[in-house]
Amino acid sequence: MRVVVASGKGGTGKTLVAANLAAVVSGSREVVLVDCDVEEPNLHLFFPSETKTLPVLADVPVFDQLRCDHCGECARTCQYGAIVVLPQKNLFFPEMCHGCGGCEITCPQGAISMRKREVGRVEFSRPRCHLTLISGVLNEREVAAPRVIREALLYAGGHPLVICDAPPGTACPLVETLEGADYCVLVTEPTPFGLHDLSLAAGVADVLGVPAGVVINRSMGEDGMVREFCRSKNIPVLWTIPFDRRIAELANDGKLLADGVPGIRELFLGLFAKVSGRGEPGA
């Protein structure tokens, strides 16, 4: 089963829920936790541990200046504006290149060949005895977030229990993370902004056919708007985390809650029971 913890925007406690859920569940079974927030991965802050790293490579063209006659075919072929041909030289913008190889095929002079370039990396660690952490990290100024996410998920593929911390927003990176998942936990705050982002993220899950449930963080009690929304969309509210200074402090320090908040372990286990009851394929 693969569970994605998402929120539509950052700062709602999504990472807090993903980290603690994985930590608590790993008390009794093997868990792979994947940080798909590749532009700002921070799950590792909760699990300091030695890491091993593999690069994420993308294909980019190299130009043979001796063969190139600056005909401009490659620039006309590239849909991403990564090549501009000047009368005397070619300009290439690696961070715009999608590695499709179209320019190589199209060049009449055979002046283009593809080579590998590092756009990010995947870091592996084993911070607890039943927990593996896989973090996707996008290099600075790169745009290929979905590619790094895909690669991080690839290493977790086929594992019986995978928990993913989704990237914020509702664009391609979230789609890449959610696609093919068995369940989506949407973490939200009971504010108008929170509700707006929740509805967008819930929309993405719906389009991708991933069943979803809501966790309300920093609840002030009633949470009328969020509950109303969930009722109208037929999305269950799985759990409500009350506003609690200790939770906020521990989370700020990058500490796990189970060690400092009595009774919270059982609550996370309860959340997991609900999620696995709904998300287990065939359940």
Partner: protein
């Protein structure tokens, strides 16, 4: 000296307003300083998903423009334009292409690059 000037424009005519965005400009109006009228070229990348700046810059390079008058040029497009030796002048007065051209000829526009 005769040279080719390009002005980003919201429409195909010289009385249309100058478009301040470069890559997403709907039209490029080219004018040969030796001639009296503008030649409009529709920007087919105006609504493209990405890479609009460099692709638009390629259009200028292909037409041999030496001067660009626009509101603003993004990083990648700017490096193309600099590498191609095209001068950029900023126009933000909200007027027509003709107005921008007149001000350029009088030396009233600020040079960006």
């Amino acid at each position: 000296m005769v040279m080719i000037i390009c002005i980003t424009s919201k429409g195909p005519k010289s009385f249309d307003l100058v478009e301040e965005r470069f890559g997403r400009s709907p039209y490029f109006l080219f004018r040969d300083t030796g001639k009296d009228d503008f030649e409009p070229v529709a920007n087919k990348f105006a609504d493209a998903a990405g890479g609009v700046g460099p692709r638009a810059a390629q259009v200028l390079v292909d037409r041999g423009a030496k001067v660009l008058i626009t509101g603003n040029v993004g990083g990648n497009a700017l490096s193309v334009i600099q590498a191609a030796g095209i001068e950029v002048f900023r126009y933000r007065d909200g007027g027509s292409v003709e107005d921008a051209f007149q001000k350029y000829q009088k030396g009233l526009l600020e040079k960006m690059a």
